[in-house]
C-alpha cells in the first residue's frame, strides 16, 4: 500500500484518494471491519425466538446472526466452507440449521459443520478422505456481545470488551434509547453512490445539518443557534450530536443565519402534527444522534427512533439500512405518531434526503485530482475534543484519527 501523505497531523486535511483507492478499501475491510472494532449486527428484538436468524454484513463480509435453541446469540460468516457460496440467502427466518444449496453442506445454529452429503462416497468410492475433520470447516464465527438488546459482533480476538469499546458516552446513549423493550416498525434501505466514509463523516458533521437540511432550520427542528453540542468517547471514534428544541428564538436564529435567510416567516406546515415532540426521555433533548465507529448510528429525532447500519459495497457505493422502532408498550396513538414522524428521516426524509445528494456530489468530483484534499477546520484545528457548540466538524477529525490508527497510516506526531 502506498504511503498515505497527510498534509497535517491533526486530520484537518484528508486526501481525496482515501475515498477512492481500491487498495485502501481492501485494507479497511481487513483492518477496520474485520479488525479490532465492534460492528452493530442487529437488534435482539429482530431475533426473539429460538431459531430466529437475520442476515447482514460486516463491512462487505456476509454474516448470519442466529438465536440458538438455548437462546444464546451467535454470528458467523454466511459463506460455505466448501466452495464459498452464500449459505443463507433470505434476509430473515427461523431455522434449525443452514444448508448451502450448492452441495448441501449443512451447518448448525452455531455455525458448526454437521453434514456433508456423500462424505464417505457411494459404494465405497469417492467422498472425502477419512482424515477430513468437519470441526475444522465450520462457518467462521464472530465474537458476539449484546448490550441493551443491541447485538454487536467482532472478528478479532484482540478487540477490547464491548463495554470498554463503547465507553460511557455511547453506553449511556444506547441505554437511553433502548430504555424499554422495543418493537420493530419496519425497515428502510438506501443505496448511495459514494464511499462509506463520506457517510461516517456526514453523521459527525453538525456544521452541515442546519445548512444543507433547510427543512430543519425552517421549522426549528435543528438550528446552530439552539443549545446543543458534540461529545466523543475518549478515543474520538464515536460521536454524539444533540440539541434542545425551542432553546432559541426565531429572531435570534434570523440574526445568526443572516444572508442565508430563514424561511420560517413564510413557510408553515398545514399538518404540524408531523413536528410534534412528545417528551419521553429524562433529558430534554429533541435531537440526539450517536454514531458508533465503524458501522452504526443510534437516532432520536423528536419521537422518531431508529438504528442505522452502514454496509460498504465497494469503493463507490454503500447501503444504509434504517431499522425504525417504538416501544412494546407504546399506545396506538404513539405508534401512529412515530410512523408519521418517520417522514422526517430515511431516503425520503424531509430532513435527510439531502445527505444522499451531498455525498454523491462530493464523491463524484473528488475522484479526479486525488492528490488534493478536503478541509476540516470548523471549530479549529489541533486538539480533538468535545465542544458545547454545534458549528464544528471536530468529530470528523476524531473519526479519521482512529481510522488512521487502525489502518496503520497515522502521520508523524499524529493528534489522537
Amino acid at each position: 500500500m502506498r504511503k498515505v501523505h497527510w498534509p497535517r497531523n491533526d486530520y484537518s486535511r484528508v486526501p481525496y484518494y482515501l475515498y477512492h483507492d481500491a487498495e485502501i478499501y481492501q485494507q479497511e475491510q481487513a483492518k477496520v471491519f474485520r479488525g479490532p472494532s465492534w460492528s452493530m449486527l442487529c437488534l435482539a428484538a429482530e431475533i426473539p425466538l429460538a431459531g430466529d436468524f437475520r442476515t447482514t454484513w460486516v463491512g462487505d463480509t456476509p454474516v448470519i446472526v442466529q438465536r440458538a435453541q438455548d437462546l444464546s446469540v451467535h454470528a458467523f460468516v454466511n459463506r460455505c466452507a466448501h466452495r464459498g457460496a452464500l449459505v443463507r440467502r433470505e434476509t430473515s427466518g427461523n431455522a434449525q440449521s443452514h444448508t448451502c444449496i450448492y452441495h448441501r453442506w449443512c451447518y448448525s445454529q452455531k455455525g458448526d459443520l454437521t453434514g456433508i452429503p456423500f462424505q464417505r462416497g457411494v459404494r465405497g468410492q469417492g467422498g472425502l478422505d477419512k482424515s477430513f475433520d468437519k470441526a475444522e470447516h465450520g462457518l467462521q464465527a464472530l465474537r458476539v456481545e449484546v448490550y441493551k438488546d443491541v447485538v454487536f459482533g467482532t472478528f478479532s480476538a484482540d478487540t477490547e470488551p464491548l463495554s470498554d469499546y463503547l465507553g460511557p458516552m455511547m453506553r449511556e446513549h444506547i441505554a437511553t434509547l433502548m430504555r424499554a423493550p422495543i418493537k420493530v416498525l419496519g425497515y428502510q434501505r438506501q443505496a448511495i453512490d459514494g464511499n462509506w466514509k463520506l457517510y461516517a463523516e456526514n453523521l459527525r458533521d453538525t456544521y452541515h445539518a442546519s445548512l444543507l437540511h433547510e427543512f430543519l432550520v425552517t421549522f426549528g427542528l435543528d438550528r446552530a443557534t439552539q443549545q446543543g453540542g458534540v461529545a466523543m468517547d475518549d478515543r474520538h471514534r464515536h460521536n454524539l450530536t444533540f440539541a434542545v428544541a425551542s432553546s432559541d428564538s426565531d429572531a435570534e436564529a434570523n440574526q445568526a443565519y443572516g444572508a442565508h435567510k430563514l424561511n420560517s416567516d413564510k413557510l408553515t406546515l398545514r399538518a404540524p402534527a408531523l413536528l410534534k415532540f412528545l417528551p419521553e426521555f429524562e433529558d430534554q433533548r429533541s435531537l440526539s444522534i450517536s454514531s458508533m465507529f465503524p458501522n452504526a448510528a443510534f437516532q432520536r429525532l423528536n419521537n422518531s427512533l431508529a438504528v442505522r447500519q452502514i454496509q460498504p459495497k465497494g469503493v463507490d457505493k454503500f447501503v444504509l439500512v434504517w431499522t425504525f422502532f417504538g416501544y412494546a408498550d407504546d399506545t396506538p396513538e404513539m405508534s401512529e405518531h412515530r410512523l408519521r414522524q418517520m417522514n422526517l428521516l430515511g431516503p425520503a426524509g424531509l430532513v435527510s434526503m439531502e445527505d444522499a445528494e451531498a455525498i454523491e456530489i462530493a464523491h463524484r468530483t473528488s475522484r479526479v485530482d486525488a492528490d488534493r484534499h478536503s478541509v476540516i477546520e470548523m471549530g479549529g484545528g489541533g486538539e480533538i475534543s468535545d465542544r458545547n457548540y454545534r458549528v464544528t466538524d471536530v468529530p470528523l477529525r476524531g473519526f479519521w484519527s482512529y481510522y488512521a490508527e487502525l489502518m496503520g497510516i497515522e502521520p508523524e506526531g499524529a493528534v489522537r
Binding site: 419496519g186 425497515y187 438506501q190 453512490d193 398545514r270 410512523l339 434526503m353 439531502e354 445528494e357
Partner: protein, 157 residues
Amino acid sequence: MITAEQRFAVYDLYAQYASTADACLYDDWLNLFLPVCSYRIIARENYAAGLPLCLMLCESRDMLIDRIVALEQANEYAIHVDRHIISGIRVTQVQGQLLSVEADFLLGQTNSEGELSLYVMGTYKDTVQISGAQAYFVDKTVIVDNGCIPHAISTPI
C-alpha cells in the same frame, strides 16, 4: 360491473397521474386526489412482512401539500427528469362508486447530463372514486419492489 366510461375514467386518471408528476405539475397532480385522501410509499419488504413502516406517509391532503411545499422550497435533491410507465391497470373490486384498482409502474430517472437509470418499479394498490366522467384517488399505496432506494426519494413515485 363498471361501465366502459368508468373504465376509461380510471385509465385517464393513471395517465394524468403519470403526466402531471413527470411534468412537475404538482398542483394538477394534487387535484387528482379527493379532499379526504391518503398517499403512502412502502417497501415491498415491509408490506409483505406486515410491518407498517412506510418510506413516505401522507395521511391527509394537508400532509401532501406540505410535502410539495417542502419539495419546492426546502429540499435539495439530484436534478433529474422522471418518466412513469404505468401498465396493467386492473379494477379488482367495485363497491358503488368506489373501486379498488391496481397497476404496475416503472419509473426511470434521467440526470442533468442525459443519463438514464431505472429508478424504481412496483405496484399501486389504490382506492379510486368515480365522480361523473372523472375518477379521483381516495387512497394511494405505492409498493416499491426495490425497497433499497437508489439515491433518495424526492419527487412523487
